[in-house]
Every structure is written in structure tokens, then in C-alpha cells.
Amino acid sequence: MPMVWVPSLMQKLTDGQAHVEVEGETVRQVIENLDAAFPGFKARVCDENDRLRHDVAVAVDGEVSSEGMRRKVKPDSEVNFLPALAGG
């Protein structure tokens, strides 16, 4: 199962767990399953339009993409939720 690294500021939702294994073939499915296991998770990373929040980026296997919720996730993938970043 994909391994999700839970941001430290969200770990009170996961009973202090820093890493959680959860089913899912896309970021959307991972988030839905996380929310089922840990209610409130989705609201922290998604907006009311069912998209990733503007200030949140998701990295799958170390790569951040613009595919957002549709990004494919493999069974051995690592998923990180990060703050959205910019450069100069």
C-alpha cells in the first residue's frame, strides 16, 4: 500500500502517527481513504471544490506535479503533503 507521510501539524488527526499506509491508486483515493480512517484529514488538504488547497502541494515519490488529485499512485509509492512553494 502507498505510504503517506503525515505533516507534523496534522498528526493529531492520525493519533500521532507520522506515517500511514492507505489504499489508493490516485491521490484522490488516498485522501478519501485517509479521511475515512482519520476524519477531518480531507478538509485540511482539500478545498470546497474537491481540489487540493491552494497552499498545499502533494508529492508522489518525491515529485510534485500539477495533476493534483488525479495523480497516479503506485502500491509502493510514498506520498508527501507539503506547503506550496514558489521561486524567484
Partner: protein
Amino acid sequence: MVDKNGNYKVIGTRPIRHDGTEKVTGQAIYGGDTRFPGMLYGHVLRSPHAHARVKSIDTSKAEALEGVRAVVTGADFPPTTADDMIDLGEGPTSLKSMRGNVLALDKVFYKGHAVAGVAAINAHIADEAIALIEVEYEVLPPVLDVRQAMEDNATLLHENMTTTAFGEDTGKKSNVSLHLNHVLGDPDAAFASAAVVVEREFTTATVHQGYIEPQNATAMWKTDGHLTVWTSTQGAFTTQKQLGAVLDHPISKTKVVPQEIGGGFGGKIPVYLEPVAALLSRKTNKPVKLIMTRADVFEGTGPTPGSYVRVKLGANKDGKLVAGEAYMAFESGGYPGSPMPCGVMCVFGCYEIPNGRIDGFDVVVNKPRSFAYRAPCSTQVALATETVMDEIAEQLGLDRLQFRLDNIAAEGTRRVDGMVYPRIGARETLEAIRDSEHWQAALTGDNQGRGISIGYWFNVGLKSAVTASVNKDGTVNLVEGSTDIGGSRTSIAMQFAEVVGLAAEDINPQVGDTSSIGYTDVTGGSRTTYATGWAAYEAAHDVIRQMRERAAKLWECEDDQVEFDDGIFRHSGDAAKKYNFKELANELDETGGPVVGNGTVDPASGVGGSFAANIADVEVDLETGKVGIARFTVVQDAGKAIHPSYVEGQMQGGSVQGIGWALNEEYFYTDDGNMANSTFLDYRIPTALDLPMIEPIIVEVPNPGHPFGVRGVGEANIAPPPAAIANAIYQAVGVRLRELPMRPERVVAALQAQAAGG
């Protein structure tokens, strides 16, 4: 993925830049050169107060002045009812903040905050009219320091602003808009086990990008609703998007024409004058042009944030880092949104630190809204980490360079924010320092010292588009959407030329406007040569595909019987049949007409971060405290240097800016929040007379995520200089400076404290 195993004909050479002649002869067209019949000239009224409520604005006297054609204020914006967000292509920002920063809505948050705009038949009348606008302010106490702003009883800039923490609104009213936190492993236990722990505090001043060309904009809002804006920007499409949002105007009716740009470094991503010029043009049905003065640029545009950073590192007796902890607070200026998250990412980005904790805070203060400046926030945090690394090496009795090499990040290293590095060149960058002639050479004078440091920038990918039109003579017109700030026209054209087997000079690269090329994100994040170059690579392959079809027509064979290699199209079954690119281009008219290739990218992987390191030799004047740079080397991993001269130019430019940040540059504020040095005479950027030749050493650890192995090189080079210089000062005279800039009186004060036994 890396193409051709590094055997290139064009890539790695140093052709003369395509825009060079126009620029050195003064023929290049910048925003200041824009002229249209009937054009009006604008000026902006700016707040004299750092913090005040705007009680009323009376524009009647200004509007009555002969020659004045229009006056606009924040009231001319569409209603801003909610805190809507807009993504500028490099991250989101608040629409209300953006509108308020362009023209103040109900409060002014910094001295120089724009309050109103005037259009008149000439600049003098516009200037006169500005003085006739009557603004009634309720002056409020300014908050000028990040730590002062974080105090529980601090004056609040935005009365209803609360702190959010990764999606959670804490409900606490504060000047802190955002708190980020990352934890890896068990830092408390690791610190308890460490043989050496060093913790230090650092502060850095607000500094400006210091681009030579001030912001400018000319707008023409036609009566049919079509708006065209000519401006100096790092991203035409980003400007288009911002204009659409700020003015609530469809992007289909908003065209942005990027003109030549005299520097940006992150400061020309947000809009300032563009919406004001547009509003004035809409009111007058005339083109309206606005240009900032240098004081406007300093006081009214976004510098990089001042900061407070505290870093603690622990190592075992063998010299391995076991834990790191960082606390950083960045001044976002009058509105939230500093690049603080980048500092969080970069603070321990150079090292393998198995246990760590990082806290970052975005804090509003009464200074201009801060924005990106070349590897934003990485310089501030590199100063802290690299100074503490030096101190730990000293306490353990280890060689400072070897200590760094023993802990350097590599492929597979997990950062404290959880991300794992792909192939990176941090080790090779430090090894190039070790192997350099400079590192081996002796110092040459009294009171000299040598410092080293390394910095990290993650780089970004984002979206780019390129269109290539093949001419009958075999040359190619290449239109790309990236504003060319540092020679990227040429580095993009070279990647195209490499694929199709032409010389760089056979490509005619041009920067398109928003109506002539596909969406392209900003020139920023060290992405242009990487991503737009990749789009050129894709466009080149599209051209080759079409050209093979044309050759097949000519030879009356199947497409797959045409091979292309090393610039030659060959018939696989007849060795006598072959065309070079130019010969085949000459046949296009009879085989179907024009060939136009397209390339678009939105790299989801393989962006590839870059590391830069310095050796700085300084000489300290013990009497005056002046620090001179005796010798300076910069090393950077470019992945693959497409045009080595431009890579070296980026490395040298970033180094000089970092040196200025270290020694001279700062916004010097009076107690009431006025910037006291808003000219280049008083805001001291180093010049060629202040510096030796910056010696660049390019390292090439190919980025496996790019066709040619490119890593962006525009930013990482500004991260290490202040730390290298601070470490060099310590080596020279035995005092540690932890506050930027390290100006003479601070050096003298540190020397006097040292002499007094402090």
C-alpha cells in the same frame, strides 16, 4: 533520459547571444521606450505613513487641474468581498491583498503604499496633480520588526487575521499568518545523545532585488473592452492572470506584451503599475504610461523579507550530524505571503540530518509586501546553518570542509520535510571547492581569512510552450513564452539547434506575447532553461517528425524509411538519398507548405535541485571595520551547462548580490517606518570597483529528469555568500557576526567586545 550521452555539437559552446547586438547598441525596446500617439502620463500617490487608516480621499482638486484626464483609487476596483485566491503560476496569493497592494483599500500598510493614480497630458502635470489629492489618514503605530510583531500584545495590522497551520485555522488573532512545522525522527533524543550541540540566533535586514530597470507599464483599454498592456515582467501570462483577477476582466480580452527586461530576480512577478495604468486608460480611452522612480521601486515594490532565524545542530564525536532544529520568522510586509516555506525547505537542505524539527512563521509588518528574491529565503537560512556548521567543526577539532563532506546530502537523503533526494550534486560541488586552486592557495595579506559555505535551491518545473517555424533557407523562427532575463533566448535556441542539427545562429528566438504563444509560466524558480528548453526540445522533435514526412514525399517512400541522425535525413534503403536540414527546408514549398513545430511541457518529475558553494577570502580593516573581498570563488552544479558563459554569469551575478546582502545592503528604517536610504547612493550595491573577479567553477552532475541533464542555475548561487563571508571574517579576526549586513560599525563593535573579553 539524458540525450546523446553528453556528446553535443551546440550544447556546451558559447555562441554570441541573439539579443546582444540590440542591447549593446541601445536598440532593444524596454518599457520606458514605449510611445503612442495621444499617450497620457501617469503618476502614483504614495502613503507617507507606514501604518494608517485611510479615512477619506478627495481627488476633486486634482481632477480640476488643467491637463489632468483621470484619477483612480482603490474604489475603482471591483468589490472585494471575499478573500479569494489566485494562483500566479508560482504559488497562490490573496486577491484582496493583491488589489490592496496595487491601490490601498482602507488602510496603508507601509510607507510608499500606493493610494491613487493620476493620468495627465504630461508627467509634470501628473506630478502636480498628485500633490492636490487630499488624503485624511488616521496614523497608527508601525510594527517594524518581526519579533516585535509576534509579541502577544503587538499592534495588529489586519485586525481579523488569524494564524493558520497547514490548513487549520487556529482562530488566534495575530500578525502571524502562517505557521509551518516539520519533524523527522526524534530530535530531542538525538540532541541529548550528541557530543556537541551549538545553537545560535541570526537576523537579516530587508533587502531589495536591485534590478536596474524600474517597474513600468503602458496600458491601452479600447472601447471594445480589449486591454493591452506593455510592461517589464518576468511572466506575461502571470501578469495577464493577475490583471484579469485584479480588474475582474476576462483574460481573453487582456493581452500582455512583455518588453525587454532590465532585471527582475523575483521582483517582477507581481503587478504594481499595470492595473493602475489599465484603470486610467479605461477612464480616458487613451494609452497611459507609468514608470516608477527609484524611490518608488524601493518603497513600493516587494523586497526580500527581513528575518529572525535560530538554528541548533548536534553532532556525535565522530563528526556526524545527529539532529537539527530551526526556528525561522520572515517578514512578509504589509500583507501575508512571504516565501517562508522555501526557507523551511532549504534550511537543512545540504545535509543528511536524521532527526530534525523546523518551525517557520510568516509575519506581517509595516514594510512593503515582500516577494521572491533569487532563491527566496535560502540565503537567510544558509547564513544560520553554515555558521553553526563551522562552529561545530571547530568544537570537534575537525576540518570544516571535510566535516561538511562527511555530512553532505546525497541521492536517497531524506530531508526534514520528508522529501527524498533524487540524484543531486551536493558532494561534487563541495569536492570542487576542495580541489580548486583557490582552496589550495595561501592567503595573501594581513587580517585576511577564508570562509566556505554551501547553499541549496530546489528549482521548479511548471509550464512552458515553444513554437518553431521553419524558413525556406533552413533557419528557424523560435517563439517562446519565457521572458529573457539572463540569456535564456539563446540557451533555449541552443537546445532546439542541438536536436535539429543546426547552429545556434540559425535559430531566431523571440519572446512572444500572450496572444502569440501558448501559456508559459514565469521566468523564475530557475526553470527557464530547464523547462522552456525542454519545450524547445519537444518542438524540435515535432519539426523533425514533419520533416521526415516531407523527405518521404520527395523520395516517394514510407515515413519510416526516413532516418534522421546528426542533422541529416537519410533514406534507409538508399545511401545516396540524403538531405541536411537546410536542403530539405528548401523543398518545403513542394511538399505541403510550412512546417511549424510545437512543444509544450509541464514537467511532473525530474526538476532537479541545484547546490552552490563559495570560498570567500576577506580582509578586515581593524580600525574602520570595513570588510573587503580579496578573492571569491563560486561553484555550482548546472547539471549540464547549455551555454557556459551564461551559467557563469548567473553564478557571478548571484554571488555579487549575495556579497551585497552580506556587507552593504539593507532597508534602513527610521522609528516611524520611513526608509531613509531609498536611492542607489545610499542603498549600497557593490560595484565592479568593490569586488575582485568572481571565479566560477561549473560542476556538471546531469539531471536524469531532463533530456540534456539541465539543472536550473539562476538562484542557488545567492544562498552561500553571506555565510562564507561571515565564516571568513571569523577566520580573519576571530569574531562571529550573526546579523546582516555585516557593516563596518558592527564589525568594530564585535572587535571591541572581543577586546573587552566579551
